[in-house]
Homo-oligomer: 201 residues x 2
């Protein structure tokens, strides 16, 4: 279609990005070639470097270029809380909220037997080891509020039943700023079953 | 914000792409690192190669890795028609419509004195030289249907007033204010067949 096989190849290569179809890939390719070659060169270099150097944190499995990630290595974090999340994007979201000061454990997915993802693939053995080492007071399960996320949270809670540690699940309910009218039934059901006492003692 | 400076750098690098903000850049970075490292490596390599090798066609200024682009080098194209467009994306759109069989001249922009873009930056000298060499029967101006595109078309028509060649402008079947790149093939075909003479008697 194009006058250049190399541009075709570049458009095809951009389609590996999430949410990028033929048209966006074409726009990205031509934008870099016509208007921002320096940005493109930088992207190529940084991407190659990141893919080569970034692996998983030895302690929490989060993505990092160091053996131990910045959060696990930070002496200011409260080591009595361990928040279990599905992905590095969840860590970013919680960090951006800025209220949590404990450490994390990143599953890199959720239980999904049909895709061959069991406890082993999620590093749950490593999580149990870390808990068994002691020091943690509470494990906060922050898996997504989906069927798979719920199943994963229940599985981990079950594994920790006999451990000397509290196990909690983050609340699911109506989002702050959200309106009841536009909240789905599942969320409302959760909001009702998770209601808290408001009456002063 | 992230636990890794290298991931921060990667997110920042992705923001050079058009239409990609902080959130999309983060999603792209984590997607490649978590799920598609091979696609990411390929993107990095193809991008570096394309930026190094792709320049402008000696005849039509379109982007290509060869001295002369695939369209100019194709003996099957009708060398009596020269279609003048603003960008390589426009060439792609017209090629995808599939009705035009002539060759192109790519201005790589439009007249915009405020940005320092005059006839020289658009290679209009090269265009006039190619027309003066003879062989062309018609120059079809397919600049965008915008104020700047119209001005550019009129400027080129004026320059060709005394040349032995017909000068036409594609019909405004293309929505006014719209851009060629985002026009469907049928509209583009109409625009070609409805072109009108632009040369003063």
């Amino acid at each position: 279609m194009s006058s250049s096989p190399l541009i075709e190849e570049l458009i095809e290569a951009f389609r590996c990005l999430p949410g990028v179809g033929q048209k966006s890939a074409q726009r990205m390719s031509l934008h870099l070639l016509e208007r921002n070659r320096q940005g493109g060169r930088r992207l190529s270099e940084v991407l190659a470097g990141a893919l080569e150097k970034i692996g998983n944190c030895r302690q929490c499995r989060n993505l990092t270029e160091e053996p131990v990630c910045g959060i696990c290595a930070n002496p200011a974090r409260e080591r009595k809380f361990c928040c279990v999340v599905e992905s590095p994007a969840d860590v970013l979201a919680i960090e951006q909220a800025g209220t949590y000061r404990g450490v994390y454990f990143v599953l890199m997915g959720h239980l999904s037997p049909i895709d061959g993802i069991g406890p082993e693939q999620l590093g749950i053995g490593l999580l149990l080891e870390r808990i068994a080492e002691g020091g943690f007071e509470e494990v906060i399960l922050a898996c997504n509020a989906t069927v798979e996320g719920d199943a994963t949270a229940w599985y981990i809670a079950e594994q920790l039943r006999d451990a000397e540690v509290a196990v909690s699940r983050i609340a699911h309910g109506v989002p702050v700023g959200g309106e009841l009218e536009f909240t789905d039934g599942g969320t409302l059901a959760h909001a009702f079953s998770g209601r808290t006492n408001m009456k002063r003692a």
